[in-house]
Each structure stands twice: as C-alpha cells, then as structure tokens.
C-alpha cells in the first residue's frame, strides 16, 4: 500500500542539519575510564545515525552537542535476536510495543533504496555540532525523514525517555 505522505527526501549537503537527518558512519568517541593530562587511547565506533535534537535548536545553533541515535536495517537487527526475527517481533516493532526501538519504513526512492530500519533509543550519543556538520558536508547528499514521521519518531523517543515502571497492582481483566 502506497503511503499518502512520502517518508524520505534526498537533500543536498549544504542544507542545514535538521531532526530526522541520516548521517552515515558517524564517529562516536568512547571515553576511556580514566582521563589524565597525558596521551590516551580512545576508541572510535562508527554508526549510521539519525539526528534526534529538535530542528529549531539546530537552526539557531542553540546547542553544542547534537543528540543522535543509531539506525539499523531490520534484517541486521533481527539476526541478533530471535524474537525480532519472528513475525510477532516485527509486528511488535511496527505497533510501537517495543518502546526502546522505532521502526521506519523502507524506501525505493532514487538514491535511497533501503529496507525497513530500526532506530535504537537505548543508545543516545552527543556529537559536537561542528563535527556532525563537517561529516554531513562530506556526504554528497543525505536522507531526511519527513513529517509526520519525523514527529512520530520524536514522540516515540519522548515516550521511551519518560516511561515509568510501575507495580502491577490492578490484576488484568480476563
């Protein structure tokens, strides 16, 4: 079934960074357990990420660090876990029943062919604005998640972040 609203757009690298932009192979600096005034070994991990910070904060450069979350192909993701390999696991992702993960649609637009994608809210990284902007400039084009799916992603992230574990005092109605 074709969606009424397009999910993604391909944008030029000179456009401002916005929420929902995909950045490929973004370097994430993993700080060592101890930091002294010395030469230290630092691990760098590369992830494909999506920008989670609000666009208004980015456009007005109100923040130094941009929040990003890793994005995975659903196929890669499900290889790591049998539950998400099953139709029930995938359906749970689609329905938003897994609060830590958010499913994005596949795409067959020119220059961006992808299968379903999973955004991982459990791992949130802060990347310096200038670094992310430099990486984005080096990519010829980039992909942007479009409204209303961008707002849906943001809302899902908020829902994950604000969730509260409560005791189940009221028994289920059978």
């Amino acid at each position: 079934m074709k969606s009424a609203y397009p999910w993604y757009d391909v944008i030029d690298n000179d456009e401002n960074l916005m929420q929902g932009d995909f950045i490929y192979e973004c370097p994430i600096i993993i700080p060592p357990p101890n930091i002294n005034l010395d030469e230290i070994d630092v691990d760098i991990e590369l992830y494909n990420v999506i920008i989670m910070s609000q666009s208004c904060d980015l456009v007005n450069k109100k923040i130094d660090l941009i929040l990003v979350c890793p994005v995975w192909l659903l196929d890669e993701f499900s290889v790591k876990n049998n539950f998400y390999k099953s139709p029930k696991g995938k359906e749970a992702l689609r329905r938003g029943d897994s609060p830590g993960y958010h499913l994005l649609n596949k795409s067959d637009i020119d220059a961006f062919h992808t299968d379903y994608l999973v955004v991982d809210f459990h791992n949130v990284y802060g990347v310096h604005f200038d670094l992310l902007e430099n990486i984005a400039r080096k990519q010829e084009k980039r992909i942007r998640l479009l409204p209303p799916y961008r707002e849906h992603l943001s809302q899902a992230f908020a829902r994950f972040f604000m969730r509260v574990g409560l005791p189940s005092d009221i028994p289920p109605f059978k």
Binding site: E45, E76, S98
Partner: protein
C-alpha cells in the same frame, strides 16, 4: 531471563497479549556492535571546570499573547 522467556513464548505460539505483557515486564534489549571500531591516540590538552552557557528563549510575540 526475559529474552529466553520471550523466545520460548514465540516458539510456543503464544498469544499477542501474552507476548506484549512479557515484553513490557522484561524489556528486550538487542546489543548491536558498531559498523567499525578503531583506536586513536589523543592528547589531553586541558582539564577544566565547564562554564555555564545560557540559551536565551526566543522573543515573546506580544501580539499572539494578547490574542490568546
């Protein structure tokens, strides 16, 4: 315990309701490795206390407020 429990339930063809309840009680976390990983040497130039950076709010639109 949670993951094993969920996988057992899937293989036993449990109901949607059972699976959703189990997922909420035992949140399933999938640990994905990075695409690539490498080490760099970094020189720590300084260690200092951060200074406060205040972000001022946008200007308030008085006209809009009076309309509300």
């Amino acid at each position: 315990m949670g993951i094993t429990f969920l996988e057992e339930m899937v293989s036993e063809d449990a109901s949607d309701e059972d699976i959703m309840t189990a997922m909420q009680e035992n949140e399933l976390i999938v640990r994905m490795p990075p695409i690539k990983k490498y080490k760099i040497k970094a020189k720590v130039k300084s260690i200092k206390k951060a200074s406060l950076r205040i972000v001022e709010p946008e200007e308030i639109d008085e006209e809009r407020i009076s309309l509300v």
